[in-house]
Amino acid sequence: MSPKSEIKQFILGNYLFTNDESALADDDSLLKKGIVDSTGMLELIMHIEEKYGIKVAEDEMVPANLDSVVNVTAFIERKLAK
């Protein structure tokens, strides 16, 4: 499974409680749409760290890296490419 599909399914299953992919657009803001709160974001970060074996540094915890499926996927791919 591609990181994009995997991250999307993680968010759908853990925050929206559905398998329906149409419930979340790839560029939906996780914060503005009320999908994650502070603990939800922590869970997402922990999931990324465990699943992809990468470390999310403090200064990487910004909306540009984490606020949508597109942003999270691009962030993971950048980190894995390093």
Binding site: T18, D37, T39
Partner: protein, 499 residues
């Protein structure tokens, strides 16, 4: 004459009109501007026919508009009803109906609240809702005829959702202003202070942060939330804030995810912690991470405007685990079931009396009569006083769950899960959670052997409840443990979780 909140804002704006009251991103609002905004809003309400005692439901995020609408409503003689903006239509409908609100102020993007506000006048920020009025258009000249009655009803804060006994805590300006004065004194707040505020103003803790800073003319730097915790810390460093207020989960999050030593936090003079017991380990870590900041552990409840006790920082080591002593002007005692006063170290229910204690619950004489007896408030909290008068809390008599900064009544969640046809019975409890203090857990008894889809339970909760009320855990069980009279043994369920 008793102090009022509006007199505090008027006085601060008159004394230091150019002092910064609020900073929100790039937006900077002075006390002079804030006072003008509040007067304009009050004038607009009066011109539109708001009568003394009319209820205005305030469903805005922290912002200058929130503060202007809050103080403007009080100026105009109305009663302000701050609402949790994260709630769903189901809660909003109930609250608006229960307080018979004639006005609603909210963001044009808050669809849940707008859906519930069909029969009220609607004022919106961030655009105009169909049939609504833009916030900026609620404007008029305000002439103050007589000073408002400090003891009149001024604010209703709902502490529970739709289920059970509606509890809208009714406070006067005198209640809140007297508590404000006491807090200002023990924190030593002055106009030189500034705080980065992540607490919502619609809860009593955030509400007290707002009023104390307005009182002394200090600055409040608004920060969205803790989703990106290191940005909050960067904001404290950048704005050279002198204070920071949090609940236990706030501090766990900051300590767990941010290397505080990487930031220059030397400006931080004090921290306040309320909203439930913080573990001794977290308290110690916090003090080690920020040794220059005095830590004030505090306890209170909405029914007491906000604060009842505080632990002077100098006593923190000596009285670790205590929530401190009663604020000046507040009497506090612990009582046995019989009503008799407890001896030192004897555990009982905490009762308090003071100028900050609510007038009662809005439109709920039975609950008011239970909580208020002979001028004393039964807090429902259980604990003991030591020989020096320091209070140590041991828990609550009620089943209310404290999760993060929120309070959740189990029945609120149970009622929603019971709406599902495949559910026979459900019981909801709070279980220990490292980050949140308590997390919500639902024990669900399926109606038939076909079972219940856990994901569907959570999805249904998400549709009907604010996100923080969605159970973190859902367990399917064959039956619920009950007493002979049929009451669910919640303690047994909590114990079952920790096994």
């Amino acid at each position: 004459m008793s102090a009022t909140l509006v007199a505090n804002l008027r006085s601060t704006a008159g004394r230091t009109p150019d002092q910064v009251a609020l900073v929100q991103g790039e937006r900077v609002v002075t006390y002079g501007t804030l006072w003008d905004m509040a007067r304009r809003f009050a004038g607009g309400l009066r011109a539109s026919g708001l009568a003394a005692g009319d209820r205005l439901a305030l469903g805005l995020e922290n912002s200058a508009e929130y503060v202007a609408a809050y103080y403007g409503t009080l100026l105009a003689g109305g009663i302000v009803v701050p609402l949790n903006v994260a709630a769903k239509a189901r809660d909003f409908e109930f609250w608006l109906r229960h307080c018979a609100a004639s006005w609603v102020v909210c963001s044009a993007e808050n669809r849940e609240l707008l859906a519930a506000a069909a029969s009220t006048r609607v004022v919106t920020t961030a655009g105009v809702a169909p049939g609504g009025i833009a916030f900026a258009d609620v404007a008029g000249e305000f002439e103050e005829a007589t000073a408002p009655d400090a003891h009149a009803a001024a604010c209703i804060l709902y502490t529970s959702g739709t289920t059970g006994s509606p509890k809208g805590v009714l406070l006067s300006q005198h209640n809140i202003a007297s508590n404000t004065d006491a807090i200002v004194t023990y924190l030593g707040l002055t106009a030189a202070d500034s705080i980065v505020c992540v607490l919502p103003f619609y809860y009593s803790y955030g509400n007290s942060v707002l009023h104390t800073h307005v009182k002394v003319g200090a600055t409040i730097v608004l920060d969205d939330n803790l989703v990106y915790p290191h940005k909050v810390v960067a904001n404290i460093a950048r704005s050279r804030a002198t204070g920071f207020a949090g609940v236990p989960s706030t501090f766990s999050l900051l300590l767990g995810r941010v290397t505080l030593g990487d930031f220059d936090l030397s400006s931080l003079r004090y921290l306040t912690q309320a909203g439930g017991a913080m573990s001794v380990a977290t308290t110690q870590k916090l003090r080690e991470a920020l040794p220059q900041a005095q830590l004030f552990v505090m306890y209170g409840q909405t029914e007491a405007s906000a604060r009842l006790t505080y632990l002077p920082p100098a006593d923190l080591d000596r009285k670790l685990g205590s929530v401190g002593v009663a604020l000046p002007g507040i009497e506090l005692e612990t009582r046995l079931e019989s009503g008799e006063r407890c001896a030192a170290l004897q555990t009982g229910t905490v009762w308090v009396r003071g100028p900050n204690v609510m007038r009662g619950y809005w439109n709920n004489p039975e609950a008011s009569a239970t909580a208020l007896q002979g001028g004393w408030l039964n807090t429902g909290d259980v604990g003991h006083l030591d020989a020096d008068g320091f209070l140590f809390l041991a828990g609550r008599r009620s089943d209310m769950i404290k999760t993060g900064a929120h309070r959740v009544h189990p029945k609120d969640v149970e009622e929603v899960i019971e709406e599902l046809a495949e559910v026979a019975e459900v019981a909801v409890v709070g279980v220990n959670d490292e980050m949140l203090g308590q997390a919500i857990k639902a024990f669900v008894v399926p109606k038939s052997a076909g079972g219940v889809d856990v994901m569907r339970v959570k999805a249904h909760c998400r549709q009907r409840l604010a996100n923080y009320k969605i159970p973190k855990y859902v367990d399917l069980v064959g039956s619920l443990p009950k007493t002979a009279s049929g009451k669910v043994r919640r303690h047994e369920l909590v114990e079952r979780h920790s096994e």
